[in-house]
Amino acid sequence: MVYYCTRCKRLVEIDYEAMGIRCPYCGHRILIKQRPTLVKRVEAV
Amino acid sequence: MKLKVIDKTDTEVRIEIVDESHTLLNSLKTLLLSDPRVELATYHIEHPTITEPILFVKTKDVDPIVAIKEASDKLVEVFEEFKNLFNDKASM
Protein backbone atom coordinates (compact mmCIF):
# COMPACT_ATOMS: atom_id res chain seq x y z
CA MET A 1 0.00 0.00 0.00
CA VAL A 2 1.34 3.41 -0.99
CA TYR A 3 1.12 6.24 1.54
CA TYR A 4 2.14 9.88 1.56
CA CYS A 5 4.43 11.07 4.34
CA THR A 6 3.32 14.41 5.75
CA ARG A 7 6.85 15.44 6.83
CA CYS A 8 9.13 14.49 3.93
CA LYS A 9 6.27 14.63 1.33
CA ARG A 10 7.44 11.39 -0.29
CA LEU A 11 5.33 8.49 -1.45
CA VAL A 12 6.36 5.56 0.67
CA GLU A 13 5.75 1.82 0.60
CA ILE A 14 4.93 0.51 4.07
CA ASP A 15 5.76 -2.93 5.37
CA TYR A 16 3.59 -3.01 8.47
CA GLU A 17 4.87 -6.39 9.73
CA ALA A 18 8.52 -5.33 9.71
CA MET A 19 8.46 -1.78 11.11
CA GLY A 20 4.90 -0.74 11.92
CA ILE A 21 3.47 2.59 10.74
CA ARG A 22 6.57 4.69 10.13
CA CYS A 23 8.13 6.46 7.15
CA PRO A 24 11.22 4.50 6.05
CA TYR A 25 13.00 7.72 5.00
CA CYS A 26 12.40 10.15 7.86
CA GLY A 27 10.78 8.05 10.57
CA HIS A 28 7.65 10.25 10.73
CA ARG A 29 4.56 8.47 11.98
CA ILE A 30 1.81 10.48 10.25
CA LEU A 31 1.04 9.03 6.84
CA ILE A 32 -1.88 9.75 4.51
CA LYS A 33 -3.46 7.18 2.21
CA GLN A 34 -3.42 8.28 -1.45
CA ARG A 35 -6.74 8.99 -3.16
CA PRO A 36 -7.61 6.17 -5.58
CA THR A 37 -7.63 7.25 -9.25
CA LEU A 38 -11.20 6.13 -9.94
CA VAL A 39 -14.06 8.58 -10.35
CA LYS A 40 -16.32 8.93 -7.32
CA ARG A 41 -19.98 9.65 -7.80
CA VAL A 42 -21.56 11.66 -4.99
CA GLU A 43 -25.25 12.58 -4.75
CA ALA A 44 -25.72 16.34 -4.27
CA VAL A 45 -28.05 16.11 -1.26
CA MET B 1 -50.35 11.18 -11.45
CA LYS B 2 -52.18 7.88 -10.96
CA LEU B 3 -55.72 7.22 -9.85
CA LYS B 4 -57.12 4.31 -7.87
CA VAL B 5 -60.89 4.08 -7.60
CA ILE B 6 -61.61 2.68 -4.16
CA ASP B 7 -65.39 2.48 -4.51
CA LYS B 8 -67.92 3.89 -6.87
CA THR B 9 -71.71 3.95 -7.01
CA ASP B 10 -74.03 6.04 -9.20
CA THR B 11 -73.75 9.09 -6.99
CA GLU B 12 -70.69 8.50 -4.87
CA VAL B 13 -67.02 7.99 -5.61
CA ARG B 14 -63.91 7.55 -3.52
CA ILE B 15 -60.61 7.91 -5.42
CA GLU B 16 -57.05 7.77 -4.26
CA ILE B 17 -54.95 10.30 -6.18
CA VAL B 18 -51.35 9.15 -6.12
CA ASP B 19 -48.57 11.76 -6.04
CA GLU B 20 -50.78 14.78 -5.43
CA SER B 21 -51.34 17.05 -2.43
CA HIS B 22 -53.39 19.97 -1.13
CA THR B 23 -52.12 22.02 -4.08
CA LEU B 24 -54.48 20.38 -6.54
CA LEU B 25 -57.07 18.81 -4.26
CA ASN B 26 -57.99 21.84 -2.20
CA SER B 27 -58.63 23.96 -5.30
CA LEU B 28 -60.52 21.09 -6.90
CA LYS B 29 -62.67 20.56 -3.80
CA THR B 30 -63.64 24.25 -3.71
CA LEU B 31 -64.68 24.16 -7.35
CA LEU B 32 -66.62 20.92 -6.85
CA LEU B 33 -68.53 22.52 -3.99
CA SER B 34 -69.47 25.49 -6.16
CA ASP B 35 -71.32 23.03 -8.44
CA PRO B 36 -74.99 22.89 -7.34
CA ARG B 37 -75.30 19.22 -8.38
CA VAL B 38 -72.57 18.21 -5.93
CA GLU B 39 -73.82 17.44 -2.45
CA LEU B 40 -70.50 16.68 -0.79
CA ALA B 41 -66.89 16.99 -1.83
CA THR B 42 -63.92 16.51 0.43
CA TYR B 43 -60.51 14.95 0.61
CA HIS B 44 -58.44 13.39 3.31
CA ILE B 45 -54.71 12.85 3.74
CA GLU B 46 -54.24 10.41 6.58
CA HIS B 47 -50.50 11.00 6.83
CA PRO B 48 -48.63 13.70 4.87
CA THR B 49 -45.68 11.51 3.84
CA ILE B 50 -46.75 7.88 3.89
CA THR B 51 -50.31 7.92 2.52
CA GLU B 52 -51.87 9.35 -0.60
CA PRO B 53 -54.86 11.74 -0.56
CA ILE B 54 -58.33 10.29 -0.98
CA LEU B 55 -60.99 12.37 -2.72
CA PHE B 56 -64.63 11.72 -1.88
CA VAL B 57 -67.45 13.15 -3.96
CA LYS B 58 -71.18 12.68 -3.51
CA THR B 59 -73.59 14.10 -6.05
CA LYS B 60 -77.35 14.50 -6.26
CA ASP B 61 -78.03 12.96 -9.65
CA VAL B 62 -75.02 13.14 -11.98
CA ASP B 63 -72.13 10.72 -12.29
CA PRO B 64 -69.52 11.95 -9.76
CA ILE B 65 -66.71 11.28 -12.25
CA VAL B 66 -68.35 13.74 -14.64
CA ALA B 67 -68.57 16.30 -11.84
CA ILE B 68 -64.84 15.92 -11.11
CA LYS B 69 -64.04 16.25 -14.80
CA GLU B 70 -66.07 19.46 -15.03
CA ALA B 71 -64.40 20.81 -11.91
CA SER B 72 -60.96 20.18 -13.38
CA ASP B 73 -62.08 22.00 -16.52
CA LYS B 74 -63.14 24.90 -14.33
CA LEU B 75 -59.76 24.82 -12.58
CA VAL B 76 -58.02 25.05 -15.95
CA GLU B 77 -60.27 28.00 -16.84
CA VAL B 78 -59.51 29.83 -13.58
CA PHE B 79 -55.76 29.47 -13.98
CA GLU B 80 -55.87 30.28 -17.71
CA GLU B 81 -57.72 33.48 -16.80
CA PHE B 82 -55.17 34.24 -14.11
CA LYS B 83 -52.26 33.55 -16.46
CA ASN B 84 -53.59 35.75 -19.26
CA LEU B 85 -54.48 38.55 -16.88
CA PHE B 86 -51.08 38.40 -15.19
CA ASN B 87 -49.31 38.31 -18.53
CA ASP B 88 -51.25 41.35 -19.76
CA LYS B 89 -50.66 43.37 -16.60
CA ALA B 90 -46.98 42.38 -16.39
CA SER B 91 -46.21 43.36 -19.97
CA MET B 92 -47.82 46.79 -19.59
Partner: protein, 263 residues
Protein backbone atom coordinates in the same frame (compact mmCIF):
# COMPACT_ATOMS: atom_id res chain seq x y z
CA UNK C 1 -60.68 38.08 -11.00
CA UNK C 2 -58.48 41.13 -11.03
CA UNK C 3 -54.75 41.70 -10.63
CA UNK C 4 -52.87 44.85 -9.67
CA UNK C 5 -49.13 44.58 -10.02
CA UNK C 6 -47.33 46.62 -7.39
CA UNK C 7 -43.76 45.60 -8.06
CA UNK C 8 -42.17 43.40 -10.68
CA UNK C 9 -38.45 42.88 -11.06
CA UNK C 10 -36.27 39.97 -12.15
CA UNK C 11 -36.23 38.34 -8.74
CA UNK C 12 -39.29 39.77 -6.99
CA UNK C 13 -42.98 40.17 -7.69
CA UNK C 14 -45.66 41.80 -5.56
CA UNK C 15 -49.24 41.94 -6.71
CA UNK C 16 -52.79 42.17 -5.44
CA UNK C 17 -55.09 39.34 -6.47
CA UNK C 18 -58.79 40.14 -6.16
CA UNK C 19 -61.96 38.05 -6.28
CA UNK C 20 -60.56 34.54 -6.02
CA UNK C 21 -61.35 31.75 -3.58
CA UNK C 22 -58.83 31.22 -0.75
CA UNK C 23 -58.16 27.69 -2.06
CA UNK C 24 -57.12 29.04 -5.48
CA UNK C 25 -54.76 31.59 -3.92
CA UNK C 26 -53.29 28.89 -1.71
CA UNK C 27 -52.96 26.54 -4.67
CA UNK C 28 -50.95 29.19 -6.51
CA UNK C 29 -48.73 29.73 -3.48
CA UNK C 30 -48.09 26.01 -3.01
CA UNK C 31 -47.42 25.38 -6.67
CA UNK C 32 -44.86 28.19 -6.88
CA UNK C 33 -43.10 26.97 -3.73
CA UNK C 34 -42.92 23.26 -4.47
CA UNK C 35 -44.11 22.14 -7.88
CA UNK C 36 -42.54 24.34 -10.57
CA UNK C 37 -39.71 22.32 -12.18
CA UNK C 38 -36.28 23.88 -12.00
CA UNK C 39 -32.71 22.88 -12.82
CA UNK C 40 -30.31 21.83 -10.06
CA UNK C 41 -27.23 19.67 -9.80
CA UNK C 42 -28.32 16.11 -9.00
CA UNK C 43 -24.99 14.32 -8.61
CA UNK C 44 -21.30 15.10 -8.94
CA UNK C 45 -18.55 12.92 -10.41
CA UNK C 46 -15.41 13.80 -8.51
CA UNK C 47 -12.15 13.10 -10.34
CA UNK C 48 -9.79 14.74 -7.90
CA UNK C 49 -10.25 16.58 -4.65
CA UNK C 50 -7.32 17.57 -2.50
CA UNK C 51 -9.17 20.47 -0.90
CA UNK C 52 -10.09 20.75 2.77
CA UNK C 53 -13.74 19.81 2.22
CA UNK C 54 -15.00 16.25 1.85
CA UNK C 55 -16.46 15.20 -1.51
CA UNK C 56 -19.94 15.03 0.03
CA UNK C 57 -19.76 18.59 1.38
CA UNK C 58 -18.66 19.92 -2.01
CA UNK C 59 -21.47 17.99 -3.71
CA UNK C 60 -24.04 19.50 -1.33
CA UNK C 61 -22.71 23.01 -1.98
CA UNK C 62 -22.88 22.40 -5.72
CA UNK C 63 -26.46 21.14 -5.47
CA UNK C 64 -27.67 24.33 -3.85
CA UNK C 65 -26.38 26.60 -6.65
CA UNK C 66 -29.41 27.95 -8.60
CA UNK C 67 -29.24 27.36 -12.35
CA UNK C 68 -31.09 29.32 -15.04
CA UNK C 69 -33.79 26.94 -16.26
CA UNK C 70 -34.81 26.35 -19.85
CA UNK C 71 -38.03 24.35 -19.81
CA UNK C 72 -38.24 24.23 -23.60
CA UNK C 73 -35.19 22.03 -24.16
CA UNK C 74 -35.39 19.89 -21.01
CA UNK C 75 -37.98 17.58 -19.50
CA UNK C 76 -38.29 15.96 -16.09
CA UNK C 77 -36.27 12.70 -15.93
CA UNK C 78 -39.40 10.67 -15.12
CA UNK C 79 -41.19 12.04 -18.22
CA UNK C 80 -38.20 11.51 -20.50
CA UNK C 81 -38.10 8.92 -23.28
CA UNK C 82 -34.92 7.44 -21.79
CA UNK C 83 -36.85 6.52 -18.65
CA UNK C 84 -34.69 8.60 -16.33
CA UNK C 85 -31.41 6.93 -17.25
CA UNK C 86 -29.98 10.24 -18.42
CA UNK C 87 -29.85 11.67 -21.93
CA UNK C 88 -29.41 15.09 -23.54
CA UNK C 89 -33.16 15.79 -23.16
CA UNK C 90 -33.15 15.44 -19.39
CA UNK C 91 -29.69 16.31 -18.12
CA UNK C 92 -26.60 18.39 -18.76
CA UNK C 93 -23.16 18.52 -17.26
CA UNK C 94 -21.17 21.37 -15.76
CA UNK C 95 -17.42 21.02 -15.47
CA UNK C 96 -15.02 22.48 -12.98
CA UNK C 97 -11.27 22.14 -12.94
CA UNK C 98 -9.42 24.42 -10.56
CA UNK C 99 -6.17 24.76 -8.72
CA UNK C 100 -5.25 27.03 -5.80
CA UNK C 101 -4.64 29.34 -4.38
CA UNK C 102 -7.91 31.16 -5.01
CA UNK C 103 -11.59 31.10 -4.12
CA UNK C 104 -13.65 29.02 -6.54
CA UNK C 105 -16.97 30.67 -7.39
CA UNK C 106 -20.07 29.26 -9.03
CA UNK C 107 -19.15 31.32 -12.12
CA UNK C 108 -16.13 29.04 -12.68
CA UNK C 109 -18.47 26.17 -13.61
CA UNK C 110 -18.43 25.54 -17.36
CA UNK C 111 -21.84 24.48 -18.64
CA UNK C 112 -22.25 22.20 -21.64
CA UNK C 113 -25.38 24.16 -22.62
CA UNK C 114 -24.93 27.94 -22.93
CA UNK C 115 -28.64 28.48 -22.11
CA UNK C 116 -28.36 26.79 -18.71
CA UNK C 117 -25.81 28.61 -16.61
CA UNK C 118 -25.53 29.58 -12.97
CA UNK C 119 -28.00 32.25 -11.93
CA UNK C 120 -25.48 34.01 -9.69
CA UNK C 121 -21.78 33.94 -10.54
CA UNK C 122 -20.58 35.08 -7.14
CA UNK C 123 -21.46 32.11 -4.95
CA UNK C 124 -18.27 30.79 -3.33
CA UNK C 125 -17.86 27.01 -3.58
CA UNK C 126 -14.52 26.55 -1.85
CA UNK C 127 -11.33 28.40 -0.93
CA UNK C 128 -8.41 26.45 -2.37
CA UNK C 129 -4.90 26.90 -0.99
CA UNK C 130 -1.66 26.33 -2.87
CA UNK C 131 -1.25 22.85 -4.46
CA UNK C 132 -4.89 21.96 -3.72
CA UNK C 133 -6.89 20.87 -6.73
CA UNK C 134 -10.52 20.18 -7.49
CA UNK C 135 -11.65 18.45 -10.69
CA UNK C 136 -15.26 17.43 -11.07
CA UNK C 137 -18.21 17.04 -13.37
CA UNK C 138 -21.62 17.99 -12.03
CA UNK C 139 -24.78 16.60 -13.62
CA UNK C 140 -27.88 18.80 -13.46
CA UNK C 141 -31.46 17.59 -13.89
CA UNK C 142 -34.92 19.09 -13.64
CA UNK C 143 -36.79 18.44 -10.41
CA UNK C 144 -39.49 19.82 -8.14
CA UNK C 145 -39.19 21.47 -4.74
CA UNK C 146 -41.26 18.80 -3.04
CA UNK C 147 -38.34 16.39 -3.47
CA UNK C 148 -35.49 18.64 -2.35
CA UNK C 149 -35.12 22.36 -1.58
CA UNK C 150 -32.45 22.71 -4.28
CA UNK C 151 -35.25 22.34 -6.84
CA UNK C 152 -37.29 25.19 -5.35
CA UNK C 153 -37.70 27.97 -7.92
CA UNK C 154 -39.82 30.21 -5.70
CA UNK C 155 -37.80 30.50 -2.54
CA UNK C 156 -40.15 32.97 -0.92
CA UNK C 157 -43.84 32.97 -1.72
CA UNK C 158 -46.62 34.06 0.54
CA UNK C 159 -49.74 36.13 0.73
CA UNK C 160 -51.79 38.07 3.21
CA UNK C 161 -55.32 39.32 3.15
CA UNK C 162 -55.87 42.84 1.89
CA UNK C 163 -56.29 45.09 4.95
CA UNK C 164 -59.09 47.65 5.00
CA UNK C 165 -58.54 50.41 7.55
CA UNK C 166 -61.51 52.63 8.35
CA UNK C 167 -61.35 55.69 10.59
CA UNK C 168 -64.63 56.88 12.05
CA UNK C 169 -65.80 60.50 12.29
CA UNK C 170 -65.49 60.60 16.10
CA UNK C 171 -61.71 60.07 16.08
CA UNK C 172 -60.12 62.67 18.39
CA UNK C 173 -56.64 62.40 16.78
CA UNK C 174 -54.99 61.49 20.09
CA UNK C 175 -52.10 59.85 18.16
CA UNK C 176 -51.73 56.80 20.35
CA UNK C 177 -52.45 54.44 17.43
CA UNK C 178 -49.73 56.22 15.42
CA UNK C 179 -47.15 55.37 18.11
CA UNK C 180 -48.48 51.83 18.50
CA UNK C 181 -48.38 50.85 14.83
CA UNK C 182 -45.21 48.77 14.15
CA UNK C 183 -45.39 49.34 10.39
CA UNK C 184 -45.95 53.12 10.55
CA UNK C 185 -49.09 52.92 8.46
CA UNK C 186 -50.89 55.72 10.30
CA UNK C 187 -49.98 59.39 10.39
CA UNK C 188 -51.55 62.58 11.81
CA UNK C 189 -51.83 65.25 9.18
CA UNK C 190 -53.44 68.62 9.98
CA UNK C 191 -54.92 67.21 13.22
CA UNK C 192 -56.52 64.39 11.30
CA UNK C 193 -55.65 60.70 11.36
CA UNK C 194 -54.72 59.37 7.93
CA UNK C 195 -53.68 56.06 6.44
CA UNK C 196 -50.46 56.30 4.39
CA UNK C 197 -50.16 52.91 2.71
CA UNK C 198 -52.66 50.18 3.64
CA UNK C 199 -50.52 47.55 1.85
CA UNK C 200 -47.89 47.93 4.57
CA UNK C 201 -50.37 46.98 7.32
CA UNK C 202 -49.77 43.51 8.75
CA UNK C 203 -53.24 43.22 10.32
CA UNK C 204 -51.89 43.08 13.89
CA UNK C 205 -54.81 45.24 15.06
CA UNK C 206 -52.76 46.90 17.82
CA UNK C 207 -54.30 50.24 16.78
CA UNK C 208 -57.78 48.82 17.47
CA UNK C 209 -56.66 47.61 20.89
CA UNK C 210 -55.18 50.94 22.00
CA UNK C 211 -58.12 53.08 20.85
CA UNK C 212 -60.53 53.76 23.77
CA UNK C 213 -63.34 55.10 21.63
CA UNK C 214 -63.15 52.38 18.91
CA UNK C 215 -62.64 54.99 16.24
CA UNK C 216 -60.35 52.85 14.10
CA UNK C 217 -61.25 49.55 12.54
CA UNK C 218 -59.07 47.10 10.61
CA UNK C 219 -60.64 44.23 8.70
CA UNK C 220 -59.37 41.65 6.26
CA UNK C 221 -61.01 42.03 2.89
CA UNK C 222 -62.26 38.58 1.89
CA UNK C 223 -61.04 37.04 -1.40
CA UNK C 224 -58.38 39.69 -1.86
CA UNK C 225 -54.72 38.88 -1.35
CA UNK C 226 -51.36 40.60 -1.50
CA UNK C 227 -48.86 38.15 -2.96
CA UNK C 228 -45.13 38.39 -2.37
CA UNK C 229 -42.96 36.20 -4.58
CA UNK C 230 -39.21 35.88 -4.64
CA UNK C 231 -37.24 33.60 -6.98
CA UNK C 232 -33.84 31.96 -6.65
CA UNK C 233 -32.88 33.32 -10.08
CA UNK C 234 -33.72 30.24 -12.13
CA UNK C 235 -36.68 32.11 -13.65
CA UNK C 236 -37.58 35.78 -13.81
CA UNK C 237 -40.40 36.43 -11.32
CA UNK C 238 -42.98 36.95 -14.08
CA UNK C 239 -42.02 33.66 -15.72
CA UNK C 240 -42.25 31.85 -12.39
CA UNK C 241 -45.83 32.96 -11.77
CA UNK C 242 -46.84 31.91 -15.28
CA UNK C 243 -45.05 28.57 -14.89
CA UNK C 244 -46.88 28.07 -11.60
CA UNK C 245 -50.23 28.57 -13.30
CA UNK C 246 -49.12 26.29 -16.16
CA UNK C 247 -48.14 23.53 -13.75
CA UNK C 248 -51.56 23.50 -12.12
CA UNK C 249 -53.27 23.62 -15.54
CA UNK C 250 -51.18 20.60 -16.52
CA UNK C 251 -52.19 18.73 -13.36
CA UNK C 252 -55.90 19.44 -13.87
CA UNK C 253 -55.59 18.35 -17.51
CA UNK C 254 -53.90 15.10 -16.49
CA UNK C 255 -56.60 14.40 -13.93
CA UNK C 256 -59.32 14.85 -16.52
CA UNK C 257 -57.50 12.66 -19.01
CA UNK C 258 -57.06 9.79 -16.57
CA UNK C 259 -60.69 10.08 -15.43
CA UNK C 260 -61.86 9.78 -19.06
CA UNK C 261 -59.86 6.56 -19.36
CA UNK C 262 -61.33 4.86 -16.29
CA UNK C 263 -64.91 5.94 -16.93
Amino acid sequence: MDIDIIELSDTKARFVLNDVEPAIANGLRRVILAEVPTMAIDYVNIYDNTSVLFDEQIALRMGLIPLITDLESYVLPEDCDCGGEGCTRCQLSLNLSAEGSKIIYSGDLLSSDPKVTVADEKIPIIDLRERQTLVLEAVAKLGIGRKHAKWQAGVGCGYKNMPVITIKEDCDSCGRCVDECPRNVLVINNDKLEVTDPLKCNLCKLCMGICDIDAINVIEKPNSYIFNIETDGSYPAKELVIQGADTIILKAGQLKEILSEIE
